[in-house]
């Protein structure tokens, strides 16, 4: 009975439809345009929120850069890096951007720094492996070396059961007087390329003074 009624009602509505008036037509166009604008605005707002950045500045270390907003920033003086920013939302690995400065001798080359990192990291990172090294030129025209590497991140708390995460990282090493500036980006292997723009943004905005 109810289904019959509904059919009748639909029939009635179909029967009652007719050509739209000028006003109705433009109302429809405006509604569609408004909806599209709202979606675009939403997307823009979302992107601007997601890509919002803040300025990090360390006058003592001579580093200034734009880093994503909403990331946890560690710039404790006791650490061996100038800052380390991590995305608390990222799953499963917390995307990392880091800038560190280490002293080097006057005759040191960027490759020496990479060797130093290669020696240090196996003791800190499980299954650490260097993947590739290449030379790049930074925005300001200075030359740098870029090393890509990988390791596995294991949960060290024995009471938490986590599958090891394969992490891919990239270090860009720039020599500055008697210091080497190391810019680091690390991300879970499968998301590495997708979020590599974070590293590019950092390199674009990084000022070493």
């Amino acid at each position: 009975m109810r289904s019959t009624t509904r059919q009748q009602e639909i029939y009635y509505l179909d029967e009652s439809s007719s050509e739209l008036s000028f006003r109705q037509r433009w109302n429809s166009y405006l509604t569609i345009a408004l909806a599209i604008s709202a979606v675009l605005l939403g997307l823009t707002l979302r992107n601007s929120t997601l890509n919002a950045s803040q300025t990090f500045e360390d006058l003592e270390a001579g580093i200034r850069a734009q880093i994503p907003s909403g990331w946890i920033v560690d710039s404790d003086n006791d650490t061996d890096y100038v800052f380390r920013a991590q995305d608390p939302n990222a799953l499963p690995f917390k995307t990392l951007l880091q800038v560190s400065v280490i002293p080097v001798g006057p005759d040191a080359a960027p490759d020496n720094v990479l060797t130093y990192l290669d020696i240090q990291r196996p003791a800190q990172l499980s299954a650490y492996t260097r993947i590739s090294v290449s030379s790049i030129t930074l925005r300001d025209g200075s030359s740098a070396v870029r090393m890509v590497y990988a390791y596995t991140q294991n949960e060290r708390n024995p009471f938490l059961e986590s599958v090891p995460i394969v992490v891919q990282g990239v270090d860009v090493v720039v020599l500055r007087r008697s210091q080497a500036v190391i810019i680091t980006y690390r991300e879970e292997r499968n998301s590495f390329d997708d979020h590599l723009y974070r590293m590019d943004n950092l390199l674009q905005t990084l000022e070493i003074f």
């Binding site: 946890i72 710039s75 499963p92 060290r156 024995p158 009471f159 986590s162």
Partner: protein
């Protein structure tokens, strides 16, 4: 029309003729209101979302009545570790000894038995492997390596520190986030209190086990006092040795302890569990893992507190006792002069000697014996039978010897009624019975009026016949008086007194008849007449006999010159420095040092102290005993600049450090020195006294865990509003595991009821709405861990 029709299909409220609601109507109305309320409540729950799980915490712990702290069995089980001593042979790791242990700090300090960790002839070891219980119903999983921080062979206790992963990677202790238990007050344990014992019952193939029993008595032992051991009736397998015993609030009050039993140089119970020589067979040619018998004794936590606290502060005493292999004297030990007494005074001296019998109803009995040629680390055991049946409550199971080479020792049981019957005491050392130590006593009947001597003290007579400088440490001189009490001494009773020095008789009186004028009860002084050379430095003993039966005996030490009050002036001029070079004080001796010093040396001079005399040095930190070392004096009779020291790998914490020097349990010299502020920093033991935060982060829709979701706890001074996403504002954070479980590595410091500490938390995961919460309140009685479960909604 159709809509109307549909509406008609809805039930109408039934009304009474007078327009007032009928009871049925009322009921339906209430039901509808309830449904509406439920709906609104549901909407509210949705609106406040996943923060709801946090709400109980806000109110729960904020109440003025603190929640009752009860034993958390899961936490205790997780804090119980399996300790394996291992060594490398033919490229494989061989397990030599196993036992249990307990985590006593979040950063990986483990309390266990010394025999579970210190390498020995029985337990060859070059690496300690720690297995953790990850799932409560499964065997432990080898996870870490550990090192010995400090150990006491005599107490059979050791503190280990987790220092690496099995793959060789080192661990920064600050990064560990392990469950742990807190030490309780073992002195507060009363008879019949319920005790929960936790440990591993086998060789690591079984899950951690909980056994319950009651406190059934206390065993006294020389140097450790009346509560040297806590007795329990629980059945505890030997591999649970080193585990934990807990009171009803879950505090660690004892350590189940038994040394592997040795008989004739061979381990009595030793199991082969692997092919250590790699000959394709696991047989008697392979290394076997010793198993102690069943445990009935617990080392009270009070005796472990100093070790644990010193380890937590990173303080070490100068001599490394952890890896010192016991020095075995040549030849077999000798045991002599075994006797019983019913009381022991503060100096460790017996009251009156009980002969072959004692009346019914006594509640304490001590078994004394002299020993020679012993060595620390030997395994000794006292087996007591009552009318031929083994009595575990009065016996001492195999224990590690710590009394040094020679001296007098006692074992006793207090606070329990000794039942009537014939008791046989049999002493075993390294599995061999020493008949000289065998002794029996009959307890029955009413007290008799037999004559007896008791309570011998020593001193020097003043001009008025009074005894001055009384005690058990006297200066060198020509006259020493011994004063004792007597009772029921009928005139004519024959008595004798004998004096000995370092075990050699120096004077024996002729048998004398007790004169009537002395009475039958009172005190009496005796002395040795013209002793050649007088009383020179050494250890002396006076024994009193009645009718040729030992009735009382006591020892004293002669050392040092006489001070103005006739007390012994043995040690003098204690000076503290931060360095020592060529056995000379380095730097300036001071009573206050700035913060940050790495070592503290105490130099002192000594005078007229016989080599071999037993002495004790006791280091205190803010008045709490950290190290208590008793050994034989190893220097000449006189000298300057003997030194002992404390050290730290980093810096000694600010505190007031004290050095007490004792002879024969009598304090003869003490001094203190301030470092930095002169008191331990607030929260010096914070690594072992905070609240752990654990929980699970799930998808609100599916209930599945969200791996990688981040749980952040802010420092108590910051709220969500104040958070600027700076790491310095973060107390700790944890990533959820594959099940969504998390465990914040940092412990939440406790506030007080009057000044609670409030914490804020954030939960973040990509694709989910963020959750923030303020107001997690932590006070001194907040139970640990706090569990927070958060359901995140997809965005």
């Amino acid at each position: 029309m159709q809509k109307k029709h549909l509406f008609k299909a809805l039930p109408h409220p039934v009304r009474t003729p007078f327009g007032t609601p009928s009871p049925k109507d009322l009921e339906r109305g209430r039901s509808r209101k309830f449904s509406k309320g439920l709906f609104i409540l549901g909407i509210l729950c949705i609106l406040i979302g996943i923060g709801a799980p946090l709400l109980p915490l806000r109110g729960g712990h904020a109440q003025s009545d603190p929640p009752p702290v009860e034993l958390n069995e899961d936490t205790i089980k997780r804090a119980t570790v399996f300790v394996m001593q291992t060594y490398q042979e033919q490229n494989q790791m061989v397990i030599s000894c196993v036992g249990s242990g307990t985590l006593v700090s979040v950063d990986g300090l483990i309390l266990t038995n010394a025999h579970n960790a210190v390498p020995s002839d029985t337990c060859r070891s070059d690496q300690l492997v720690i297995s953790m219980t990850v799932r409560l119903d499964e065997p432990p999983i080898p996870t870490y390596t550990a090192e010995i921080v400090d150990a006491s062979q005599g107490l059979n206790l050791a503190v280990l520190r987790i220092n690496g992963y099995l793959d060789g990677r080192a661990i920064d202790p600050g990064t560990l986030q392990l469950p742990f238990v807190e030490l309780g007050d073992s002195d507060a344990v009363q008879l019949d209190d319920t005790i929960t014992i936790v440990g591993y019952p086998a060789f690591g193939q079984d899950p951690v086990t909980v056994t319950r029993g009651t406190a059934q008595g206390f065993t006294a032992e020389a140097r450790a006092g009346n509560r040297a051991w806590l007795r329990t009736g629980a059945t505890i397998p030997g591999t649970m040795s080193g585990g934990g015993a807990y009171d009803r609030s879950g505090k660690l009050i004892g350590i189940p302890t038994i040394a592997p039993t040795i008989a004739g140089g061979e381990l009595v119970d030793c199991r082969v569990i692997q092919d250590s020589n790699q000959d394709g067979r696991a047989d008697r040619n392979d290394t076997c893992v010793p198993v102690g018998g069943f445990i009935s004794t617990l080392r009270p936590a009070a005796l472990a507190r100093g070790l644990v606290r010193a380890s937590a502060l990173g303080i070490r005493q100068g001599t490394d006792l952890t890896n010192t292999a016991p020095l075995r004297a040549e030849g077999n030990p000798t045991i002599s002069t075994a006797f019983f007494t019913t009381s022991v005074n503060a100096a460790g001296q017996p009251g009156t000697v009980v002969g072959g019998g004692a009346p019914s109803g006594i509640n304490s009995l001590y078994y004394f014996f002299d020993y020679d040629n012993m060595a620390d680390g030997m395994i000794y055991e006292l087996r007591v039978t009552l009318d031929g049946n083994y009595e575990p409550n009065y016996s001492l199971p195999p224990s590690t010897w710590s009394g040094g080479e020679h001296g007098t020792w006692y074992i006793g049981s207090t606070d329990i009624i000794w039942r009537n019957g014939v008791y046989e005491f049999r002493l075993f050392i390294d599995g061999r019975e020493y008949s000289e130590g065998g002794k029996s006593i009959v307890l029955s009947g009413a007290p008799t009026n037999r004559p007896l001597f008791s309570d011998i003290v020593f001193g020097v007579l003043d001009g008025n016949g009074g005894l001055i400088g009384t005690g058990y440490v006297l200066p060198e001189g020509s006259a020493v008086q011994a004063r004792f009490s007597f009772l029921n001494m009928e005139p004519g009773t024959t008595w004798t007194h004998a004096w000995s020095r370092d075990g050699q008789i120096i004077y024996v009186s002729n048998g004398e008849a007790w004169p009537a004028e002395r009475g039958v009860q009172g005190t009496y002084d005796i002395s040795v007449g013209a002793l050649e050379g007088g009383f020179t430095a050494g250890e002396y003993r006076v024994s009193l006999y009645i009718n040729n039966e030992l009735s009382a005996t006591s020892s004293f030490v002669i050392a040092g010159g006489a001070a103005s009050d006739n007390t012994a002036n043995v040690f003098s001029d204690i000076r503290f420095t931060t360095d020592a070079s060529s056995d000379e004080p380095g730097g300036t001796a001071r009573t206050e040092f700035p913060a940050g010093i790495e070592s503290l040396y105490a130099f002192f001079n000594w005078n007229l102290l016989a080599p071999g005399t037993t002495w004790t040095r006791r280091w205190t930190v803010d008045g709490e005993v950290m190290f208590d070392i008793t050994e034989a004096w190893d220097a000449g009779p006189d000298g300057q600049n003997y030194f002992v020291s404390l050290g730290s790998l980093a810096a000694l914490p600010d505190a007031t450090y004290g050095l007490d020097i004792l002879l024969g349990n009598v304090l003869v010299k003490q001094a203190t020195v301030k470092v930095g502020l002169g008191q331990l920093p607030v929260g010096a033991f914070a690594s072992a006294s905070g609240v752990q935060l654990v929980g699970r982060i799930t998808d609100a829709e599916t209930g599945q865990g969200i791996p990688g979701a981040m749980f952040i706890v802010l420092e108590s001074e910051y709220s969500i509003e104040d958070f600027l996403w700076e790491q310095s504002q973060v107390l700790g954070s944890s990533l959820a595991d594959s099940e969504g479980r998390f465990q914040v590595p940092a412990l939440l410091p406790r506030g007080t009821t009057d000044e609670p500490l409030l914490y804020s938390v954030l939960v973040r995961a990509e694709g989910y709405l963020p959750v923030n919460g303020d107001g997690i309140i932590v006070i001194d009685s907040t139970a640990s861990p706090i569990e927070i479960n958060v359901a995140l909604t997809k965005n």
